[in-house]
Amino acid sequence: MSGEKNLLEIRHLKEYFPVNVGFFRTKPLKAVDDVSFTIKKGETLGLVGESGCGKTTVGRTILQLYKPTSGEIIYDGEEVKTKAQLAAFRKKATMVFQDPYSSLNPRMTVQDIIAEPLDVHGLYRTKAERRERVLELMSYVGLNSEHASRYAHEFSGGQRQRIGIARALAVNPEFIVCDEPVSALDVSIQAQVINMFDELQEKLSLTYLFIAHDLLVVRHISDRIAVMYLGKMVELADAEEIYNRPLHPYSKSLLSSVPVPDPQEARSNQRIVLEGDIPSPLNAPSGCPFRTRCPYAQEDCAGSMPEFKEVEKGHFVACHHLDEVSSMKGGLVLRGTMTG
């Protein structure tokens, strides 16, 4: 399904937010710290990690909802830099937000919500054309035309998320950042929306950056998966590869923490339960950010951030002690008390 051509290339992206730590003193919160990756045309790249790891910030910074502190965003071979480039980029790249309740304006009708990007970019000549396009978009996401003049509060969560998706599709985008689009939905509705993402991708040849914390959902929808921890990318590989053979100790424990909906497997599973909490990104550990919770951490991990390098074809990982990590099999159950 995915071609070889890179649609989007991110190079050394950094996003620091200034945080007040006293009178006239600020400290940078490194939400995204030197992240590089590519997304091929037609593929879905899943981005996973726990809260505060910077996955949402990556998505928003790519669309430049936040101005990147530094780094390059290269779309279709061209860097997105000037205002004109950004305006053109935003016609090709849109976003679906997490919360279908707060991301729709309660005072607008569904057709106005969906048509807003059309209004902004001036993508129609007549009222009739606008209406026609709105109805077309609604049919893409399985909404009836009679819903057009209703308000968002009249819809259930799943239907609202459909409205949000129709809005994202309005400008005929090539690339969509999906920021936790199904995590607010019930299981039975979630599956409907996931299938819809699949169908739309096929029909409209879309490329997705799919951000989520639900690893089962991400595995289902993604071609490749990237794992983030405290602003850094720690591993990136094909979806199946990362599930069957994760290399980074954080990916290993993250994947083994997912409760599998299968009682027999759950009973036999050896889980790696991590100690402690995720440190605050304001006081991120020196060197490798994972070292404070890592069962394999050694002295040199505090020294420098391990390089994010390709260890096998298409499998990138950032860890100083890969050999030791891979020589120890799973089944290492760490339990313990928390510090800090």
């Binding site: 726990e50 259930s156 039975s188 909906p261 009682p263 339960v273 313990g336 008390t337």
Partner: protein, 331 residues
């Protein structure tokens, strides 16, 4: 071997709103034995939390237990009065809530809040309560309990706050712990810690847990027995293995099919069609019938009684009463 602690029989709980009566719990019956973990799964609005709140009798203003019985050790709790319930809550049955961020009072120290619960429910004096609080903080795996006693909730992370809530709930050694989506607000690695902790404590203290969740993964991992709820009623009930591997209700089957797993990876998911039910306009027959692919005429007219599939399994679905349903069912 199994000692019955709690028995709920034909429980009906409604909320009387301006828009009409919302039947949140509609004829729920189950029993809970000592040392068991019972999972209640369902989607939003299925009545799983209201069932728990009914047991504790902590329903919001408009909510009321309309009929049914809740027996703890054979003693009726419905209509027993506030005085009796005060003796039950915290002492015999404790509850922890979904959101550890809002369940603690931000203006008091952790120690104060833990001691308050202990002083209220036991005869300990202040010094003993303090010792007990410190012991509990240690028990849930937090270092330096003396120092932690003096800290405020904002100084704790989400996972640690949930640990404190567990410490508080267990401080008076209840027989039953109700956990209402205890890990939904937490990250997966923290969720794994909390679930491990709950399992360990359950074994150590020998209590029963009612685990309310929408996450079938959590159920598979934690629960001995499972109740599946939809629109205020129990669809199906049985041991975890029976529910996951030999499901006999179309809703449970649909729910299991709609989650992404290793098996259906790369294929289309099979979602349950339609939208969740409106509790104000409940259909006459099976509440799931409007969304069910196999709905028959009788499903729209009448609700199927729960029948015993085998010793460990009950389900209420007309599909099981068809003459050809005895063997392996084609889904």
């Amino acid at each position: 071997m199994s000692e019955q602690l709690l028995e709920v029989n034909d429980l009906h709980t409604s909320f009387f709103t301006d828009a009409g009566e919302v039947r949140a719990v509609n004829g729920v019956s189950f029993r809970l034995d000592r040392n068991k973990v019972l999972g209640i799964v369902g989607e939003s609005g299925s009545g799983k939390s209201v069932t728990a709140y009914s047991i504790m009798q902590i329903l919001a203003g408009t909510g009321k237990i309309v009929s049914g019985s809740i027996k703890l050790d054979g003693r009726e709790l419905v209509g027993a009065g506030e005085a009796v319930m005060k003796g039950v809550r915290g002492n015999r049955i404790s509850i922890i809530f979904q959101d550890p961020m809002t369940s603690l009072n931000p203006t008091y120290t952790i120690g104060h809040q833990l001691m308050e619960a202990i002083l209220l429910h036991t005869n300990r004096n202040k010094q003993q309560a303090r010792e007990r609080a410190i012991e509990m903080i240690r028990l849930v795996g937090i270092n330096e309990p003396e120092k932690r006693m003096k800290q405020y909730p904002y100084e704790f992370s989400g996972g640690m706050r949930q640990r404190i809530m567990i410490a508080m709930a267990l401080a008076c050694e209840p027989d039953i712990l109700i956990a209402d989506e205890p890990t939904t607000a937490l990250d997966v690695t923290i969720q794994a810690q909390i679930l491990e902790l709950m399992k360990d404590l359950q074994k150590e203290l020998g209590m029963a847990i009612i685990m309310i969740t929408h996450d079938l993964g959590v159920v598979a991992q934690m629960c001995d027995e499972v109740i599946v709820m939809y629109a205020g009623s129990i669809c199906e009930q049985g041991t975890a293995d029976e529910i996951f591997y030999h499901s006999k209700h179309e809703y449970t089957k649909g729910l299991l099919r709609s989650i992404p797993t290793a098996e259906n990876n790369g294929q289309k998911l099979e979602p349950i069609t339609g939208t969740p039910i409106d509790l104000l306009n409940m259909p006459k027959g099976c509440p799931f019938a409007p969304r069910c692919d196999h709905a028959m005429k009788i499903c729209l007219r009448e609700r199927a009684k729960r029948i015993q599939i085998n010793e460990d399994h009950q389900a209420g679905c007309w599909m099981n009463e068809r003459p050809d349903s005895s063997g392996e069912e084609a889904s």
